[in-house]
């Protein structure tokens, strides 16, 4: 458990994003998860590395077994959610970008960081907000 520095102890919550290279949606989940972990809920949100998780990373799998996890997938393939369910149990909450972002954008070609536009960052912020809502809901019910 992490100390918030204001006297309360916050529950650590895992966030695992698909981060896929196949479509831009993967990049957006990656950016959003990073923002939540580094800026919006530092110390509370713990990112789990999906490639490491499915390659057999014990630390990642144990964390996902012991702590609540939110999966963030770009599309209905649900690579992140399915991987957690396969190796560590149920996810506490899940997010799929197709529920609230344009499919055309999600399924467009992935780009390097320097090619990202303001619109991409705005979408990543939107996803980060959704992740934070789930984190706060889980923490509220802890």
């Amino acid at each position: 458990m992490a100390d918030t520095g204001i006297g309360a102890v916050r529950m650590q919550i895992g966030v695992i994003s698909c981060s896929g290279e196949e479509i831009l949606g993967g990049t957006l989940t990656r950016m959003a998860t990073r923002k939540v972990m580094e800026e919006l809920r530092p110390g509370q949100a713990i990112s789990l590395c999906l490639p490491l998780f499915i390659a057999g990373g014990e630390e990642e799998r144990n964390f996902a077994r012991d702590y609540p996890v939110i999966s963030v997938d770009a599309c209905e393939r649900n690579c992140a959610k399915k991987s957690i369910e396969k190796y560590s149990g149920q996810v506490r909450e899940f997010i799929i970008l197709t529920d609230f972002l344009e499919r055309d954008v999600i399924f467009s070609k992935t780009v390097s960081m320097k090619e990202l536009t303001k619109e991409h960052y705005r979408m990543a912020d939107k996803i980060a907000e959704e992740i934070c809502k789930k984190i706060d809901a889980i923490a509220a019910g802890q």
Binding site: C18, E22, C49, I54, T110, S112
Partner: protein, 286 residues
């Protein structure tokens, strides 16, 4: 290794090294005709990437010592053409990757730039070597002389000829074609070369461009069937290269062969073509 890779990056979101691996993969995909294999989706759906991984040389980019991408390649039984580990590359370059953030800083971006440049240069050099290896650096000729005119025929066993005086050099599934000395001597100074279109498919004996001199227009008849992959663009500005040597700098085009075994039945080897050319030379006053 050719200029096109199948790139399998670790794509990690656990360390800055993983983020750097991802960025390098995307940069390479943008600068070459490489394609990226999503390590996560590859585990879920084999079919999507198996063909790609087996068709193109595989470049594996690991982020850290966990070597997730290498492990995945091993699990799938893939043959690795080249392997890079971002953490090791950073160490070799005297760079310390961020540990407090996943965001790429200027140092990480510079590392990506340098690694990408080195890989693209290496790939281009390999492609040129491969290109040079495809066709012999030196040819040995047999010569027939009529008056002051010399008619050379390459003696290498991989050369074949059709009755229309067009040669083909075959190596694996690839071929290079051109006209023989008989054509260039008959035409005299070649002034125009009309090239075939790269990507066009042709059958044996289809027209594959033309040559024009002050004397005549010569329609180049393809000795093989297949798809045009390359044209000797130097000839567009300097068609006289064909007069200088139609077998070396004066080659016409390269072709991805369709069925050479079938085409070969209607072609001559050196021993078959040499007497035909001699007869033509003797009957034709250059």
């Amino acid at each position: 290794m050719s200029k096109e890779y199948a790139i399998l990056p670790c794509n990690g979101l656990d360390k800055c090294a993983g983020c750097t691996a991802r960025e390098l993969a995307i940069k390479l995909a943008e600068e070459t005709e490489s394609e990226i294999i999503c390590p996560v989706f590859y585990r879920v759906a084999d079919a999507r990437y198996n063909k790609l991984a087996n068709e193109k040389p595989l470049l594996v980019i690991d982020g850290c010592a966990s070597r997730c991408a290498s492990r995945l390649a091993a699990e799938k039984g893939l043959k690795i053409a080249k392997k890079i580990n971002i953490s090791e590359e950073a160490k070799n370059a005297g760079i310390v990757l961020k540990t407090d953030s996943l965001r790429l800083g200027e140092t990480e971006k510079l590392l990506v730039e340098n690694l990408a440049d080195a890989l693209v240069t290496e790939a281009n050099a390999a492609e040129q070597t491969q290109e040079a290896d495809f066709f012999p650096k030196q040819l040995s000729y047999d010569v027939y002389q009529k008056d002051k005119f010399i008619f050379r025929i390459p003696k290498e066993a991989a050369f074949f000829f059709n009755e229309n005086d067009v040669w083909v050099y075959v190596s694996g599934g690839k071929a290079r074609i051109g006209v023989t000395d008989y054509v260039q001597q008959s035409l005299s100074d070649i002034m125009f070369f009309t090239a075939p279109n790269v990507g066009s498919e042709l059958s044996q004996f289809d027209e594959v461009g033309s040559l024009e001199s002050g004397k005549a227009v010569f329609e180049i008849v393809s000795p093989v069937s297949g798809t045009i992959t390359k044209v000797n663009e130097d000839l567009l500005n300097e068609p006289e290269r064909i007069n200088q040597n139609p077998y070396e700098q004066g080659w016409i085009a390269e072709i991805e062969l369709e069925d050479f075994e079938e085409d070969k039945e209607l072609l001559y080897d050196f021993n078959g073509y040499f007497p035909i050319m001699k007869r033509k030379v003797d009957e034709f006053h250059v």
